[in-house]
């Protein structure tokens, strides 16, 4: 389990990190917490000549909780997100979901930015961010641009971020007061990726529904969201089952995954509705 060799860079600021990426093109890759990348490198599924460690770039850290929006720096760890009481008060869905990711040691290293940038359909935060209608700021040689989470994921490990861009922060609009929320995840054991997970927001006249690990990207469904907003739970479940495209793997066959998806989504909807004011 030894990865191939690489040159290691630890730039002190974003500009230096971007210039290393520019110099080395697709031979270079950033490393955040490393808890998706290092396992891939050990399996030699990722070979990288230049590894650019973002840990010293303090601009990428931190959480700002505003009335209208919340901003999370890409290098904020999952543990830091869970530990932030102001954030949990304003947007409790984030803590609820993050507590269901991996285990304490992994959450101490794994970052929010790495989780959303990675592009692995098993990651929990992409679906969560689509449910919340978050946007990602990416910065490249041509400056900064915002990409909505709902437009970011193209296929497994393919995203709208360019190779020479770094994801810097995540901007999340705060849902209206009284919005009910839930993140429900079915996994075989602690530290496992979801067999199915659902993120749900439901409030006065509005709803948003996304699911994780049931296609090669996270699935936010406009139809399911609209049905739930109209109070039609079965319509929402049917629309979501139509939108997902699970594949058979060691977690089970397709029919089983669809069954679990429906069960988990119904549970998440019930919990979100019970919490709505």
């Amino acid at each position: 389990m030894i990865p191939a060799g690489f040159d290691y860079h630890r730039p002190a600021d974003l500009a230096s990190a971007l210039s290393i990426l520019q110099t080395h093109g697709d031979e270079a890759r950033v490393i955040a917490g490393g808890h998706s990348l290092i396992p891939m490198m050990k399996l030699r599924m990722a070979e990288i000549a230049h590894l650019v460690d973002l840990q010293d770039i303090t601009d990428l850290k931190g959480i700002t909780v505003g009335d209208a929006e919340v901003v999370i720096g890409a290098m904020t760890t999952q543990a830091e997100l869970i530990g932030h009481d102001g954030l949990a008060a304003r947007l409790p869905l984030l803590r609820e979901a993050a507590l269901q990711i991996a285990d304490p040691q992994v959450r101490n290293m794994g970052t929010v930015g790495g989780n959303v940038a990675n592009g692995d359909p098993g990651n929990d935060m992409p679906g969560l961010m689509q449910c919340l209608d978050a946007s990602y700021e990416v910065v490249g040689p041509d400056g900064a641009r915002m990409i909505p989470a709902r437009e970011f994921y193209e296929a497994a490990y393919f995203t709208a971020r360019g190779d020479d861009e770094i994801l810097t922060r995540i901007v999340i609009p705060v849902p209206a007061a009284g919005t009910g929320y839930a993140y429900v995840k079915q996994k075989r054991k602690i530290g496992d990726y979801a067999t199915a997970a659902a993120a749900v927001l439901v409030g006065k006249g509005g709803a948003s529904v996304a699911m994780t690990n049931l296609a090669d990207t996270p699935v936010w469904s406009e139809e399911a969201s609209a049905a739930l907003a109209a109070g039609d739970i079965e319509g929402a479940v049917a629309a979501m089952l139509d939108a997902i495209d699970p594949q058979e793997d060691m977690k089970g066959p397709v029919a089983f995954k669809k069954h679990v998806a429906a069960v988990i989504l119904r549970r998440a909807i019930a919990q979100a509705q019970a919490r709505a004011a």
Binding site: M1, R10, G34, K42, D53, D103, P104, Q105, V106, M109
Partner: protein, 165 residues
């Protein structure tokens, strides 16, 4: 490419250094370069927690950290949790007393993780102990006595703190 780098750590309170390729995993650097063999390698795939060390005040799995990332860090291993006179520290003693181990393979990771858990949450409930220890697997004990040992450690450490105040 793959040139060795100069790595410095504060390990169990001592300055240490060595030469290693950046791709070296922290666990291999500790065990092979520094001969610190407390932290174990169980799975090498970030699942079992036997390699858990404390890095800059946080529990991490040292099989999933490149030594380059750890350069400059403060690292504590199970060796660093003994009393100054070399006798067993409180958590180590409680694991012994409550039979929190059988083969002992998972124990260094368990104790190092439990140490940090009790810093973060000095009065955990049983459920909080189980949740906080979820990244550490044991194939022998069934966990019951590990949980008991950690709850007993919490009581003992709190009593010591109160006595000192």
């Amino acid at each position: 490419m793959a040139n060795k780098m100069h790595v410095k750590l504060t390990l169990n309170g001592q300055q240490v250094e060595g030469l290693a390729e950046p791709r070296t995993l922290l666990i291999h650097f500790l065990r092979e370069n520094l001969n610190v063999t407390g932290p174990h390698i169980g799975c090498e795939t970030s699942h079992c927690g036997a390699c858990t060390v404390d890095m800059n005040g946080k529990s991490v799995k040292s099989c999933t950290v490149f030594v380059a990332q750890a350069n400059g860090a403060e690292v504590t291993t199970v060796e660093g949790l003994v009393n100054p006179d070399g006798s067993l520290g409180v958590i180590q003693e409680m694991f012994r007393e409550h039979h929190g181990l059988q083969c002992g393979f998972c124990t260094p990771g368990m104790i190092t993780r439990a140490h940090r858990l009790l810093q973060e949450n000095p009065r955990p409930t049983e459920e909080e102990v189980r949740f906080g220890m979820a990244g550490n697997l044991c194939r022998c004990t069934g966990y019951q006595n590990i949980v008991k040992a950690i709850l007993a450690s919490a009581d003992m450490l709190n009593a010591q703190k109160e006595a000192a105040e």
